[in-house]
Subunit: 132 residues, 2 copies
Amino acid sequence: MNIQQILEERGAKVTSQRVALARIMFSRPQHLSADALMDLALQAGVRVSKATVYNTLNLFAECGIVREVNVDGKKIYYDSTITPHHHLYNVDTGELTDLPTDAVSLTDMPKLPEGTEAVGVDLIVKIRERRG
Amino acid sequence: MNIQQILEERGAKVTSQRVALARIMFSRPQHLSADALMDLALQAGVRVSKATVYNTLNLFAECGIVREVNVDGKKIYYDSTITPHHHLYNVDTGELTDLPTDAVSLTDMPKLPEGTEAVGVDLIVKIRERRG
DNA sequence: TTAATTGCAAACATTTTGCAGGTTC
DNA sequence: GAACCTGCAAAATGTTTGCAATTAA
């Protein structure tokens, strides 16, 4: 994945912050909040502001190179993996992990309202530590 | 559904605010944010504060009589229907509607990590107005 | 009577915005 | 050099909290 090329195709400028944030984001499969990405960037010696982190994540999402995951209604997580898959969310630990699509059989799409089209399907299996 | 009884069973007090908010919430199947519920309450002449609306919705969720729906990472919606079902979310209009479970075939549960148990499954089909 | 609940305002957390200065093409 | 981007601080949301006054049991 060439972030430079993706930005150019979109008519967006190739700035050092965008390249640096992309390098961190796509270094491995992960789920990062804006805050967490900012921390990783600062730790890596990348000088970047909060506003730019938010702007950049929104830009990446619009470009379709990250996927937003809403799991707790509080903060947005950005998933560096965009191939179709589901999520496992541990409500006790806050841990968010991927679930291959074949782990759940989701066969057919429902009939959608007139004049609408599907954008995507988000499936989150919520788990917790076993009690008792 | 007897809200009075549910509160008593939980050892929570039966207050006029809780009863009034429950009456509005469960008057029909709907998806309400805290803000929207507060507006409906005020319109209905119920004197209630923002803090109490939030407290009450959290209480109802803990009692399992409403279901939280996280759809946009910004605000939490509370669903007055708790029988298993999925959701259709129109990203253009913000409209959130129910989808019967049989509209999508979700056959088997994935293997869960050791020591965890499923709390629930949230499936949201995101749609938009058709383009072009 | 007492323990829980309410309301208010202030605190909090996350995300967005306005604008001056800096950078990319 | 023109348009875009960044950083900062302030604003905008949505939600929670602290505490005095009120209410249910």
